[in-house]
Amino acid sequence: MKNTPPETGAFFARDREWHPPAFTPIYKTSVARSPQRALLSFDSTRTEITGPAFGHNMLGQLDNDLILNYARPGEMAIGQRILVHGRVMDERGRGVGGTLVEFWQANAGGRYRHKKELYTAALDPNFAGVGRTITDQDGFYWFKTIKPGPYPWPNGPNDWRPAHIHFSVFGHGFGQRLITQMYFEGDPLIWRCPIVRTIPDKAAVEQLIAPLDMNATIPMDMRAYKFDIVLRGRRSTLFENKLEGN
């Protein structure tokens, strides 16, 4: 590991016009679940500046291989084999090393392994759809999986989710905590999806679309998609005000 002290500055203000607002009637479930009063804004305190750290020793050998981590011996998940890789950075472009990244997804037919799932597509007995990894010291991560399928969901009478992978990222302070979704380049369902369209800015949506990355492809084995994740940046503690009389 690099011999640099942990950063302890306050986080940059979140750009709330870049994120989806809470109340988005096109995504019906948000209507009764969106706070209606204004959020209270404060500069970060110690509680948000700090956050949990997870060690590599918690990881199992197949945690970042969704093709094999639920498969019976000698078998594997069905679907298009892909490598997803990228870098977790902060808004200053610095790698966020040693942070936990969790991911989950539907199988190749668009079916989730969940008791509340109603879609008729077949379950794959060799695929759970969950994995995790910890970024290296420069923030890079990768995992192997199969490309998830699109699926219909109850919102409008005929809404379909584009193929996507859910991501959960911690960062170094709890104020950076983020859950999002990665979409795939070229999917015509992206711009039709009410959940995608909760994001008002087209450029912000594009930040969630992973391009096909032929240079990272493993020839004769799997194609690659690149998905970088940006967490909130930190101010430098050098420039913080001192309390008057302190």
Partner: protein, 207 residues
Amino acid sequence: MVQPLNYLKETPSQTAGPYVHIGCTPNFCDIQGVFPTDLGAGPLVNDKTRGERITIRGRVIDGTGTPLRDAMVEIWQADSEGLYNSPAETRGPADPNFAGWARCPSDMTTGEFAFQTIKPGRAPFRENDPRLMAPHVLFWIVARGINIGLQTRMYFSDEEAANAEDPMLMRIEHRVRVPTLIGNREGDVVIFDIHLQGDKETIFFDM
């Protein structure tokens, strides 16, 4: 033209969706054998943890009064001395037997979450501001229909004096809303319901 600032934009949030359990608490939704246990599940305390044992219970309630049964709640708090178990904690090592972080999915029938933890100590507000915050627990809520994780805090009903001088609580203009941040202590149980809408809408923070 001026020089470009070259900051990146934060990745936009998207809802955790109805199947957040698959990724965050797979054993809870019957996916066994991938991870030995669910991260952040179970008590935050062991025999050696220092501090007063408490259980925090509550529900996340939507605008129709219905508890969410598909939410995931995470907490983050200081140890009994007010130290955070984090590399970014600069004041010294926290209790090694207390991680300070946990997650709990809402019960799929009742919507209840529960955390077996300790009452946190008081931490100074900021690196440059030594005023003490009252004991509190950060809550972070995600679910289907929540487009970006909701952040709030639970303070304690048996800490009236500390609450009265908490540098953040003091700055809340609408005093009538402050009670939405107070967990109601009854013995060693603290009840903290989170209301997403309505007269009792919980204060959520952008910080």
